[in-house]
Assembly symmetry: D2
Homo-oligomer: 263 residues x 4
């Protein structure tokens, strides 16, 4: 707590940071996948899409996988990988390896694709024969254009067991299941709820267009610094520290993630 | 327009900037005051509170005033003053001048106080005898604590004609009439509306706790740089440039400011 | 609880009835007036406007008043009066009495006007000389047209002590302070909140255009029957009886009423 | 338009009636099915669930079907059937016929099930061998309990071509795809939007628990009478007739229905 413009008004920053919300949502996705895999073990897991949940999913799976390869079309996303035991590969390198794959260096029995809209080409997946294939469905609340842009069903083309990773917010609108979309929405809806508390002047989300830092500036370290900030800042009269973080928590709990079996 | 993560998704920044919204709201307040003054002319106008609308109000009034003095308790707010013909004075200097005021150097016939909650001390106003006194009422939508913290009625203690500057958003909740509060709310509500458009993934307000820059960092120039940014950034599929700015405009038009005559 | 279309779905009616909400709001208004009067005693209180809170206000005041007269332009509203000791008079009869008022039969020391928009003519009030005059301000959240239609300030023309009865909902939009407006809004907002509960299919407000029954059909008894119905009906899977009524209660608690001293 | 309590206030009823909204939504569902069937012709179509869209769907299909049988577990729902050429059968009679079905009197090549939550038993469907099977998915916006209660996937057990009828509201929360749920939500959201118009005092949805009339009172005719009422009634100052119906229309257009091919 700091004072605001005058001593009558306080400035409170949420204890919850933007990155805590990102992490919580990514964990829900990772746990949904883990639950779906039922403790099964794999020799080689390939995950397409390092940003924003790919890295968390990789870390969650590595105990049950001989090898975990995280592939992204953007080479600089190697910087987003944390933890040992995860092999990052950019898409070009991967495609090259695939063409000279006589000794079956690339032979995944688990494929997870979280690249979403405009991501992995369904044709690329056709030649694999994994035990399990999981495609993240980017759709969340209904939106006609987004539904038409989505090709999740086409990507679900191989695999003995196929699943679609779905993530929703209960009774709230989120246009996609993207970790960033959900993070923005959780913070926005929390701000709106906090504004209704007695004695609150206003509530400011500490948001910016973070994806520009990752994909236009290509500066992952700056991105990680920028999300290390309180999710929101509140200008108010009273001691609302506890209420503020509870409202954010409540909004995080509205996020549900699960893998739907596809036949 | 830039592409987003992939070429399927676009990134659109609003043409409207945060500072455009601030300016529009400050202008509405300045015009409300001008309308109330009905073209009357004054010898000396004193405005308490430079941030955030005080400077605009000063510039609007200077044509009809022999002298316009803008007073703020924060000396560094001199940097917020633009335009010629406005004399900035910090509160201490002003109080000193007031004590040695034999030759009536300070003798305002117009006093405007936009310092809001915890601002000008009503006792300080008692010794003036202005033709017109206008106090900005910080209350907007009903809030019990904010109502109890407000002392607008106590400040309305002198003046042949007294008025209370009121600013509201039509059919929308804003907890105070503060220019920053209204700016935040206009951007937040625009984001929520834009999110509902077909093909929008998410809409990010480019907000931060701007008042921290002005009052904690005491860096007005940085503040002016930071508000010189698109009000919001939208991740979407279609060409929504026009719709996005229209929604912001519509939300700005919901702001109404007027001076209520007090008897 | 009843079953819905099939045994999987339950139908739950709120224990809170429409008339409970009306009563609670009318009580808040009556208590606000009582608090403002500080236990003072009056010889003759005149209340303009029987519908919808006038009757409750009359009953709250009668202990401290020698005589309480409730006046309405609609004679059939006599049927809304409950309790002993309140004298109903239609406006015509009252005006007639006023013209032949030599022995000061009509000589109120307390006047309360809750007729709202288009109600009591300010000129009619001018000839009284009450100790206390209270006018209910019909405005609540800001609305330009409603503000322009309101003439509360003109009616506040007599009285040694003058007050304006104001009623708001905290952090919620209500366009007027009318008891019916607030009742509709409390039920609507409760329905929206209940719909968000896990397992709720939909939530139906048991509302109709009640004022048509009172003012077009002129059938007060039917009105009283129709508001004696659960505020809302919920179609859901779980046992949400408690949550449902709590949400309505919470929404009723957002209604604040107070008399503002006018000088 | 009628006057309200006084001549200052108007009462406007929407031209759109509750039943117009029901019809529009039922038509969208019927058209979604028709589009999915691509003009194919059928000898015998069986539709499970007469209420609330079953009858519209039956009427839309009858041109392309030799016979259309509408089955409901509630015999009194025969009264909801309109138009010639649709054979209503209660579930018991149907089950009986099914047991003595030597001459293949019951042999549908098209089955449509719109009974929703707790409706048709998946086991009952197993013995059929239709060319096309369509099951209405009752889920709309995400809700954990409703998702768990739904067994659409289990009912999709037979059929050369299988589809799931899905209905959503774009960027709005509706907890189920039920015609009544969507009708209630369209009216509620319209009321909220209308309340925001300048000069509106309040907006009342003319809703009641209609399903109680159909399933508890078992009085279809009364139900049809009760939904033949303006969707909402508005108390306001201005001439808002056009705006009011436009807002309802806009909300109806947010309803999207389509059949999703299931493999
Ligand atoms: N064909 C492809 N192969 C591998 N990575 C790809 C790809 N197309 C896009 N990507 C990467 O996939 C990511 C898409 S963003 C995915 C976000 C993720 N669904 C979440 O919710 O967190 C980006 O990092 C992008 O660079
Ligand atoms: N006693 C006082 N005299 C002069 N300025 C004061 C003051 N107390 C506070 N201030 C200044 O008044 C401003 C309060 S913020 C006011 C915001 C304004 N109502 C708007 O809507 O734009 C700050 O700049 C603060 O430094
Ligand atoms: N001039 C007048 N004198 C007395 N009663 C009047 C009047 N004009 C209107 N009325 C009555 O005043 C009532 C207006 S409705 C008032 C509602 C009230 N403010 C509430 O919140 O409950 C109606 O009963 C109407 O018949
Ligand atoms: N096993 C069954 N067979 C036939 N009809 C059934 C059934 N179980 C329930 N029903 C009927 O199915 C209807 C369920 S309500 C269905 C509403 C529909 N989905 C809509 O959106 O309009 C009721 O009429 C009920 O009586």
């Amino acid at each position: 707590m700091k004072y605001g413009i005058t001593e009558n008004v306080k400035t409170i920053e949420s204890k919850v940071k933007v990155r805590d919300i990102i992490k919580k949502i990514a964990e829900k996705k990772a746990n949904a996948i883990k639950y779906y895999l039922e403790g099964e073990e794999f020799e080689q897991a390939i995950i397409f899409g390092a940003y924003l949940s790919g890295n968390y999913i990789a870390n969650t799976l590595k105990a049950d996988c001989g090898e975990v390869i995280l592939i992204d079309s953007q080479p600089h996303l190697e910087d987003i990988v944390t933890g040992n035991g995860i092999k990052f590969m950019d898409l070009n390198t991967f495609m090259l390896k695939l063409r000279n794959n006589k000794d079956k260096e690339i032979n995944p029995d688990l494929i997870i694709d979280v690249t979403g809209l405009g991501g992995v080409d369904p044709n690329m997946l056709k030649d694999f024969d994994p035990k399990v294939l999981i495609i993240e469905d980017p759709k969340s609340s209904f939106d006609k254009e987004l539904m038409e842009a989505d090709n999740t069903h086409k990507r679900l083309c191989v695999g003995h067991k196929k699943g679609s990773l779905k993530t929703f917010r209960s009774s709230k609108i989120s246009k996609t299941s993207g970790t960033m979309t959900l993070t923005v929405d959780v913070i926005m809806d929390s701000c709106i709820e906090i504004k209704e508390l007695d004695g609150v002047l206003y509530s400011v989300p500490n948001l910016e267009y973070f994806e520009g830092i990752v994909f236009h500036e290509k500066d992952v370290r700056k991105f990680l610094r920028e999300v290390n900030t309180p999710a929101l800042t509140v200008s108010c009269l009273g001691n609302l520290e506890a209420e503020i973080d509870e409202i954010i928590d409540k909004n995080m709990q509205k996020v549900y993630s699960f893998v739907k079996l596809v036949k």
